[in-house]
């Protein structure tokens, strides 16, 4: 039921005949023993146990484990997470894909991340897709020289501030040392050049690529510009400006009087990253993709982080207030309240308009590493019920909350990804901030806290990690949800079965959906999609 009343068990179908247990068993039955054992762990029923002390124990879910070969996954590769997701939205770093042509081509502006340079003359390389386009001879004799030449060329054309090099699968195999090439060319050209060992096979999904990207950006860029920032300054981490979300949030924060130093990485620039450590607070949107940077900044500079969510009007208000509370400044908090009260009437208006035709409808969300959670807020505001959800590439903490992190087993795939060792910076570490943090914590303010998706979901809702083709089809067939949220790979198959599918990676054609304005936009789009006439035209008269 609505996330607010989790004690009521979810109703999968309107007639209530289908139980979560029965459905789960039906779906798992088809697997051979070994695959079943694996899928069982990733396919759970959200049964919460309330302990004596009032805390809630969630069922354990299997996540971030390798997809079984031959099973159709939604997941992409490490390279996609690194180049496409994290570095892609930054406009003034020239990205060079080191590898054969496809990997670069397919990640060429395909995510609908937007950018807006203040002036026409400002650098924007996002529409460029550089690739070393390796050929036979590079595979045989190595591609380092070609890479160096590509860097030189990129420099000659653009003289950018920075160049980033991304390794694809064959590169790791032939042993090209991209880091050495980057280092040499950095010395030669005098601009910042760094490489990423983000070969697709390295991790189980995009997630490994996020981590690798976080590490390198932290190591090579963050902390290189010490220009001081104002008192109420923050970084927004894990917001990628899909459909223009970041534009809405930039405006919102500005009106509240909060200075945005950097966004990782929607509508971002190299200089923002370089200066990010000077902000006074890190606000984390997508926990999965970016918590590493938040942690590393805290360790090195003492800047604390909080979890926020700007998807959904209620969550937006809550997040703004949480930032206000952190800075504990009367005037700032007043201003935040003022902005919220300016925005809310239109939100109420829109809810009144769209809720009646959407209330009670059942939604499934299988997407990303945070969106399958965040968007439940928006659906909740429309009175729609999330009956099943899961992430494509998240880890257990994104489902069960950060409290489980110490219990997460590190497997060979995760060990593959470097954990940077970070120490406090002798000059820049801000102990005052840390003391202030402790004081606030004592008063009940929570930092670095994320409870995950499952706490918020209804009792007995289905939680499915790395859902595959077979499972999503069976779910659709048996549950017939009113809306399915996924990505473009799933969109058409879902819609062939007569169920509308909203793309929550790229927002289809739409967006922005963040903040108050975005929420209204989202209500409107969902109404248009779910209640479109076409769903009733599928059956021809002669089929009746």
């Amino acid at each position: 039921m609505a996330p607010d009343s989790p004690e009521q068990a979810v109703e999968l179908t309107p007639d209530g005949t289908l139980t979560s247990e029965g459905l789960r068993e039906e779906l798992l039955k088809a697997y051979p023993k070994k695959s079943r054992r694996k899928r069982e762990k990733q396919f759970v029923i959200n049964e919460k146990t309330v302990n004596e002390d009032g805390t809630v124990t969630l069922p354990q879910i299997g996540a971030n484990t390798r997809t079984i070969p031959g099973i159709l996954t939604q997941r992409g590769c490490t390279y996609a997470g690194c180049k496409g997701v994290i570095l892609g939205p930054t406009r003034d770093i020239v990205n060079i894909t080191h590898g054969p042509i496809g990997c670069g081509y397919y990640s060429w502006l395909t995510r609908r991340n937007q950018t807006s340079a203040p002036n026409d003359s400002d650098a924007n390389y996002m529409t460029y897709c550089f690739s070393t386009d390796m050929q036979d001879e590079n595979i045989i004799f190595g591609g380092e020289k070609k890479l160096a030449a590509a860097i030189q060329e990129a420099y000659d054309i653009f003289q950018p501030k920075a160049i980033a090099v991304f390794s694809t699968c064959p590169v790791g195999l032939i042993g090209d040392d991209v880091h050495q090439v980057a280092k040499d060319m950095k010395e030669k050209l005098g601009i910042n050049i760094f490489g990423f060992s983000c070969e697709g096979y390295k991790g189980v999904s995009q997630s490994a690529g996020h981590h690798i990207a976080n590490n390198q950006v932290f190591k090579h860029v963050v902390g290189t510009d010490n220009t001081p920032r104002s008192k109420f300054s923050i970084n927004l981490l894990g917001e990628y400006n899909i459909g223009g979300d970041a534009f809405v949030l930039e405006d919102l924060l500005e009106r509240c009087g909060i200075e945005l130093v950097s966004t990782f990485s929607g509508n971002s620039t190299y200089d923002q990253f370089a200066n990010a450590h000077m902000a006074n607070l890190n606000a984390v949107m997508c926990h999965r993709s970016i918590n590493y940077v938040a942690d590393m900044i805290e360790k090195k500079y003492g800047t604390p982080w909080i979890k926020v969510n700007f998807i959904g009007a209620k969550s937006t208000a809550k997040s703004l207030r949480k930032i206000g509370e952190y800075f504990a400044d009367e005037k700032l908090m007043e201003q935040i309240e003022k902005v919220i009260s300016e925005e809310y009437p239109a939100v109420f208006e829109a809810q009144k308009k769209y809720k009646p035709s959407l209330e009670g409808k059942r939604v499934m969300l299988f997407v990303g590493g945070s969106r399958a959670h965040h968007y439940q807020d928006l659906f909740g505001e429309l009175g729609m019920k999330t009956v099943a959800a899961g992430y494509e590439f998240a880890h257990r903490d994104d489902y069960e909350g950060r409290a489980v992190i110490p219990d997460i087993k590190i497997d060979a795939d995760s060990r593959n990804i470097e954990e940077l060792h970070v120490d406090a910076d002798p000059d820049m570490y801000d102990s005052d901030k840390v003391r202030d943090k402790w004081a606030k914590e004592e008063k009940g303010y929570t930092f670095a806290e994320y409870d995950g998706m499952m706490t918020q979901m209804a009792e007995k809702a289905l939680v499915i990690d790395d859902i595959n083709h077979y499972e999503s089809e069976e779910l659709i067939k048996r549950v017939k949800p009113d809306l399915f949220c996924a990505g473009i790979k799933e969109k058409y198959v879902v819609q062939k079965m007569g169920v509308p599918c909203k793309q929550l990676h790229s927002y289809d054609y739409g967006g922005p959906y963040a903040g108050f304005r975005g929420a209204i936009e989202f209500y409107k789009d969902i109404d248009r999609l779910v209640n479109a006439k076409v769903w009733k035209m599928i059956k021809a008269p002669w089929d009746e």
């Binding site: 031959g70 590769c77 496809g102 070393t132 699968c169 096979y201």
Partner: protein, 456 residues
């Protein structure tokens, strides 16, 4: 210190905004044209995901591609275990008739011995239930483009499945190359009108441009059946649209050499001259005259050439895309009096220039570039005073920069609806392209005219 490779004359070392896609993408598209076939990429999962997403955004249809999902271990020690596990799972969950396996750059670099792996898999599992046909196309992307991958997969299908047999006089193999679902449907109509039996390879006309489903379809319906593939070896002849392919034999050449099926290899039939050659071959193979409706199509096309001549004569066009496709388009544009000033392709068969020289009466007007990317095309196009650009969606930036309209044809088209429904081939396809081109030119003329004519 690693010293950069010297830039090759005016060619850039790096590829900036490529004008080609990768080899396995082409193979997957071809495999999707076989009934009950699941395309399978042997390599890491990212390639399958990217390629699915790309093909899906063009066709707006489901596209399943399985993968053997390499991890670090497989990348180092080879992917035999992954392959076997992957195939077993695909067989279990899809019950496919065929699995079309393409090897990605990763498994190609490792040098996985696919024939051996597949042989071992087959001997291990073939009993008691027969396995689906396993067809392997070797598709390293570091040698070739999506076009080569497509051709390689078509070749592999014919080679693996066609059986030599008693010649069937009315049976024709139709091997069309990289074309749209609507093209395939159109070709089928033409063949039927000639009362020929045919095997269309590949045939994704339904699968990649389908209808809503009553019941869930694990593998969407449609495609060349295995029986049809087998019968290709006993056809009376093959018609194959393939101009530049050079890597291995083409499917048609293979059928000619291995099964004695006469191959009619020709350019894609775009424009009157090329389509005439196609219909000529059909007349020969069927022993029938061109049916009246196609004669009428041709007649109307000629008639419209005459009517519209004043609008397109002397206009200047830029063309890019697969080599075979631009050759066919260049020949067509000559017919209608449009001067093709730039012909470019990301492909690199080494045969583009000679073929352009063959199809264009005066090739000296055109700059011909192969193995190029969009930045090179843009540089070359800057002072060509083009009126028109013809190619896929990726030329949008070029069109914006030159402020010249882009006529979208070919693959990929992910910024417009209806890519699957574009007919490029035959008299009808040419007619569609012709009207589209002329109307695009008229639109510019009208919009840039101060008078604002509504009557042109």
């Amino acid at each position: 210190m690693i010293v950069p490779e010297p830039a090759k004359s005016d060619h850039f070392t790096a590829t900036r905004n490529a004008c080609k896609m990768c080899t396995p993408l082409g193979a997957c598209l071809a495999f999707s044209g076989v009934e009950g076939c699941v395309p399978f990429l042997h390599g890491s999962q990212g390639c399958a995901t990217y390629i699915r997403r790309y093909l899906i955004s063009h066709f707006r249809e489901p596209m399943d591609i399985a993968s053997s999902n390499f991890g670090e271990h497989a990348a180092i020690f080879g992917g035999q275990t992954n392959l076997e596990q992957g195939l077993a799972n695909v067989i279990r969950s899809y019950e496919p008739a065929v699995i079309g396996i393409a090897t990605t750059c990763l498994s190609e670099t490792i040098g996985d011995d696919m024939p051996m792996f597949l042989h071992q898999f087959t001997s291990k599992y073939a009993d008691p239930t027969p396995l689906p046909h396993l067809v392997h196309a070797s598709t390293p992307s570091y040698s070739g483009s999506h076009f080569d991958g497509y051709m390689e997969a078509v070749f592999a299908l014919a080679k693996t499945l066609a059986e030599k047999g008693q010649t069937q006089a009315t049976l024709v193999n139709m091997i069309p190359g990289v074309v749209s679902p609507a093209d395939i449907r159109h070709l089928k109509d033409i063949l039927s009108d000639f009362e020929l039996d045919y095997v269309m390879l590949p045939d994704y006309s339904e699968r990649m441009d389908g209808v809503s489903w009553d019941d869930y379809q694990r593998i969407p319906e449609g495609g060349t059946t295995v029986d049809e593939l087998k019968s290709m070896g006993s056809a009376a002849g093959s018609i194959e649209f393939a101009t530049t392919h050079h890597k291995s034999q083409t499917a048609g050449e293979y059928l000619a050499s291995a099964c004695d099926v006469e191959n009619h290899r020709m350019d894609m039939p775009i424009g009157i001259a090329a389509t005439d050659r196609f219909f000529d071959a059909l007349e020969k193979l069927s022993g029938k005259a061109t049916p009246r409706r196609h004669q009428m199509d041709r007649g109307r096309l000629v008639d419209s050439y005459v009517d519209g001549h004043k609008y397109c004569f002397g206009k200047r066009a830029i063309l890019y895309g697969e080599e075979d496709f631009v050759i066919a388009l260049a020949s067509f544009l000559c017919e209608i009096g449009i001067v093709t000033v730039l012909i470019a392709s990301g492909g690199k068969s080494g045969k583009l220039l000679e073929n352009i020289e063959r199809v264009m009466p005066d090739p000296s007007v055109a700059t011909v570039m192969d193995g190029v990317d969009f930045e090179e095309i843009t540089d070359a196009a800057m002072d060509m005073h083009a009126d028109l650009i013809i190619g896929n969606s990726k030329g949008f930036k070029l069109s914006q920069k030159l402020d010249v309209p882009l006529v979208r044809v070919g693959l990929p088209i992910h910024d417009r609806m209806g890519a699957s429904r574009i007919v490029h081939l035959g008299y009808q396809g040419t007619q569609y392209l012709y009207d589209l081109i002329v109307n695009t030119l008229l639109d510019v003329k009208q919009r840039t005219s101060e008078v604002g004519y509504t009557y042109i």
